[in-house]
Amino acid sequence: MMAFFKLLARNRLALLGLIVIGIVVMLAVITPLLPLADPDVTDTPNRFKPPFSSGAILGTDHLGRDLLSRLMWGTRLSLAMGFAAAVIAAALGSAIGIIAGYFGGRTDNLIMRGVDMLMAFPYILLALAIVAALGPGLMNALIAVAAVNVPFFARNIRGITVGIAHKEFVDAARLAGMRDRQIIVSEVLPNVAPVIVIAMSTTVGWMILETAGLSFLGLGSQPPQADLGSMLGEARAALITNPHTSVVPGAMILIIVMGINLLGDGIRDALDPRLKSGALTRPMAATQVDRKDPVPAATNSLLDIAALRTEFRVRGRVYKAVGGVDLHVEKGECLGIIGESGSGKSVTALSVMGLVASPPGVITHGAVHFDGADLIGAPYKNLRSLRGRRVAYIFQDPLATLHPLYRVGDQLIEAIQAHEQVSKPAARARAIDLLKSVRIPNAENRIDSFPYEMSGGMRQRVGIAMALANGPDVIIADEPTTALDVTVQAQILSVLSDLRRDRGLAIIFITHDFGVVGQLCDRVAVMYAGRIVEEGPTDAVLSAPQHPYTSRLIDCVPTLGGGQRKLSAIPGRPPMVDRLPKGCAFADRCDKARDACRAGDIALVATDAGRKTRCLFPENMERARA
């Protein structure tokens, strides 16, 4: 609760709202004690006195009544009406909602049907009908406004109650022989009460507006008694000649409602966990770059990642997802990147084309040279023109990565037209060819399917076809087969492998599966806690791993027909990337770790031909030399 108030206090606008409402409510409460003129005494000779006249700071109205006094008393009445309506609506609506939600079944069905009917009315219309039946008047307007808001509470509270009614503690109470009424009062009500209060705080502004509205129409408070709405309604006749009589009550309604809305927004934000975690920030078109150090020089490789650092900055914390990665891939080559979840392999891949969600992602160091030009910090225009055309991505889980509301054909056509001026029919023909090239049967018909109409394997083929749309030089495949079953996985891998041979594609293949790496990749890089710990030709690394982490990782892979070989999970967890240890990040999980491992930074050093290892005491050295 204290944390909640702290959060609320941090939201300056909500605090402002709270202060405004506090002042208005306080003034309304002490109004009878203030030395104000009688609000209802008419004094026609002094009608329409302008503001700041002597004896009437805000002037007088069409009957010569003191506006300040009427404003104060009117505010008091309007606030009271609004709060009363909110309380009545909340009490009745919550009672209905709790009964419907708790008893469920036919009771629930019947009640909620009725609530749906009430909600089928345009809002104010129902209030008008009620006032029409009961007759104009303050109390009747109050009843009308409360009544039309009952369904809102009933529906919300029912939803919450349904969730609670099936919780264990309610079952326990029932088994203990408590009656339904007791359970509702002692078990259910305390749990829904906070929701009721929040719902009230967000609707009280509406209630004040609506009661004022009915009074404005002459259907609420009757003369001489005035609330803010009827003051405004009476002033309307003199709007053009004496606008101050309208502005005074109107501005007051605006101030009150705005204060309540500010406060309500603050409460809502304070309670929304997504806002706290920053989950509601939108990623920008390209990852932010904040690079102060000198940029590494270009090399002759097709794609060269040099000393890349990418971090996530979340509320004062820095998560170093990628902590200085060097990688390169040549034309026609397949490079595997392997590691556990959270090792930074995906972020490395996404950094290449500036696709890391930003905020919170920031690239702080290094370079990515493609064809000799640095992509980090390149203007968005250049980056966009390379994306999909020269460097294309295939993502995991194509159900989430394909747009759910566009036909797959339209998504393919869009990929083509993003970089080429092609007519739609021509692009469509090419799209069909693409689908055929990834062995989608019946491509002419499948092109008009929506993603949800396809199987996982078919969807991933569409994902690959989309990556191939513009004949890229490099494909970055981020766990493209992880969500698929083994047979489909094998098919997808063979499609990729053929394409690579036929088109001379360079592939960066990210996975956590050594089996897949062995099948497809020429070279492999093993990542741990944001850095590469071992790199080398696939066969060499698989048969004679040098970094203890690599060998432990290989030991985790079950092999078919491997018999009784012991599968050993790696004990412990990877370190959090916002609190990396000084020395080797794997030291705490390594059974060969010595003091030297924890002393300081360990470099990635060349050990054999084409092999590098980040370990002071590498394994299998003799065997590799032999």
Binding site: M117, A120, F121, P122, I124, L125, L126, L128, A129, I130, V131, A132, L134, G135, P136, G205, L209, F216, L217, G218, L219, L232, R236, L239, I240, P243, S246, V247, G250, I253, L254, V257, M258, N261, D265, L280, T281, R282, P283, A285, Y380, R384, S385, R387, G388, A392, F395, D397, T401, H403, P404, L405, Y406, E414, A415, A418, F450, Y452, M466, N470
Partner: protein, 315 residues
């Protein structure tokens, strides 16, 4: 799709019946003898007897409901005693004006609200976002009737850009431009609150969608950012925006009451308020049922639009 539309039309029948029951029950709250209440100052013994005969007012509640429902189904909504003409004629005469006003407001709030929400989300925490957020907060906090009065004061009286009130000039031509001139202020005043609500929802719906994986895919394809926002993201966000547009349609339709009072607009809303003040019960009853029925029908259109937009809704 035809099947879906038919299904929705059929499902509207119980809702329409429910609405008629609710309106009937509300009117049954009127204290005292119903015939006397309905007739008010016209309650001569002959009139009371005639009304009792026509509407079965001396019978039980259930019988009365079915007589009333039967009459309505034949297009007979009763007779306004204050205006001395059939209710349905008066309502239909007035409904056009309300439809023009509310329809324009609905289009305004949809376009402005969505545009503001999208821009706000795309420039999250930027200047445009902050400015829009502030204007939206102001918009949803200001009572539409007060806003209308202030607009009259500023734009009609001071600046003389628009006529003070009414739908048509007392003398002179009645053409489209003249109508537009009269419509501008009331339609805008009515749209402001709804625009704010739509803008807020659109912003949060867009923020939700922009984090989705398929947006990253679109960017990875090299789709232009403008297209990513206005096509990919907005299309997906519309799925949650459209139901809110349906609610806002009801809001502008009934909120027109205030605006029609402020701007002397000859619509159903003003007719209802006058009828309530004159205790012209049958006119209120007929008017409310008619508008509510129109709103139910409009919501079917909204559902159909939703189904067209989202193929995952099974037809």
């Amino acid at each position: 799709m035809t099947g879906y539309i038919l299904k929705r039309l059929v499902s509207a029948v119980p809702v329409l019946l429910g609405i008629s029951v609710i309106v009937f029950l509300i009117m049954a709250l009127i204290p005292g003898d119903p015939a006397t209440a309905i007739l008010g100052s016209y309650a001569t013994p002959e009139n009371v007897e005639k009304l009792n005969r026509d509407l079965g007012l001396d019978q039980g509640l259930v019988a009365r409901y079915f007589i009333w429902l039967g009459n309505m189904l034949q297009g007979d909504f009763g007779r306004s005693f204050a205006l001395n003409r059939p209710v349905i004629d008066e309502v239909l005469d007035r409904f056009g004006a309300t439809l023009i006003l509310a329809g324009t407001s609905f289009v305004l709030c949809s376009i402005l609200g969505i545009a503001a929400g999208v821009v706000s989300a795309a420039r999250q925490y930027g200047f445009a976002d902050k400015a829009i957020t502030f204007v939206v907060l102001l918009g949803i906090s200001i009572p539409s009737f007060f806003l209308g009065m202030m607009m009259i004061l500023i734009f009609a009286v001071e600046l003389r850009w628009f006529p003070v009130s009414g739908m048509w000039p007392i003398y002179g031509d009645r053409n489209f431009l003249v109508l537009l001139d009269h419509l501008a202020m009331p339609a805008l005043a009515l749209a402001v609150v709804a625009t704010g609500v739509v803008a807020r929802l659109a912003r949060s719906a867009m923020l939700e969608v922009l984090r989705q994986d398929f947006i990253r895919t679109a960017r990875a394809k090299g789709v232009r950012e403008r297209r990513v926002i206005w096509r990919h993201a907005l299309r997906a966000a519309m799925v949650s925006i459209i139901p809110v547009l349906g609610i806002q349609a009801g809001f502008v339709l009934s909120g027109a009451v205030y605006i029609e009072m402020v701007f002397q607009w000859p619509g159903v809303g003003r007719m209802l308020v006058d009828a309530i003040l004159k205790r012209d019960i049958l006119l209120v009853q007929g008017g409310v049922v008619f508008i509510a029925a129109c709103y139910v029908m409009f919501n079917i259109l909204v559902d159909v639009a939703q189904a067209l937009l989202d193929p995952r809704i099974k037809t």
